[in-house]
């Protein structure tokens, strides 16, 4: 169902999607903390403040760069990586492990922000063994779609 993701749940949602995401913060258009996950509440404000500074720095650096205003950024530093994405309403930043795949992290950020803004919810495929409730039979396998997104949702029992 569209529009079910709340700002409070957004950071958590991102961390659920990626095992490389350690902590995330969501800021509103005014730069205020709207949600966090992966850090204690005492640290969340500081993380949110740093995320706000990050895009201020991006806008400063952008003056020397060609192209449109940056929508996403990535910083690889010792001990980890930081990715951030923004829309006119929200800024979502995540601290990830150093080995995180940039393209996947950036795609997850975009997808979660799109879901927050009322877009379609992100669907996660589950393993066939997890999805089917009964014993694995040839008949059940024949009914499965090779592309789970296009097939029937087995959890509906259809």
């Amino acid at each position: 169902m569209a529009g079910t993701l709340t700002p409070e749940r957004t950071a958590e949602r991102l961390c659920e999607l990626s095992t490389d995401a350690r902590a995330a913060v969501l800021l509103d258009a005014a730069g205020s903390l709207a949600g966090f996950h992966g850090v204690p509440q005492t640290e969340s404000r500081e993380l949110g403040e740093l995320a706000r500074e990050l895009f201020e720095g991006v806008d400063r650096a952008h003056r020397d760069l060609p192209g449109g205003p940056p929508e996403q950024m990535e910083a690889q530093v010792e001990g980890g990586a930081v990715y951030a994405s923004r829309t006119p309403r929200w800024t979502l930043a995540v601290v990830a492990r150093r080995g995180a795949l940039s393209s996947l992290m950036l795609m997850d950020l975009r997808a979660v922000l799109a879901e927050l803004e009322g877009g379609p919810p992100i669907r996660r495929s589950s393993a066939a063994a997890e999805a089917t409730s009964g014993p694995a039979t040839e008949e059940a396998a024949a009914r499965e779609s090779p592309v789970p997104e296009l097939g029937e949702d087995p959890r509906n029992g259809a």
């Binding site: 990050l54 650096a61 003056r63 950024m73 910083a75 690889q76 530093v77 001990g79």
Partner: protein, 73 residues
């Protein structure tokens, strides 16, 4: 055209080249860097001598430190 078969020295040289490329790639990946992406996904590297580069790296490092201190709560 049929590819010329490599001898033992050629194969060893090929392996060494591959290894050197892997080491170079790993070193490059460890280097601090900042990239920005526009709405089309086009990436631009913020040059180390560019405006705001140091500040961006510092901010990102601080964010990692905050999370380290928080212990993945």
């Amino acid at each position: 055209m049929k590819e010329k078969r490599k001898g033992p020295i050629g194969r060893a040289a090929g392996l060494a080249e591959g290894l050197a490329a892997t080491v170079r790639r790993m070193q490059r990946e460890r280097e601090p860097r900042v990239l920005v992406y526009d709405e089309t996904g086009y990436a631009r590297l913020v040059q180390p001598n560019g405006r705001g580069y140091e500040r961006l790296l510092e901010t990102a490092e601080q964010m990692v430190e905050v999370v380290d201190a928080g212990g993945d709560a």
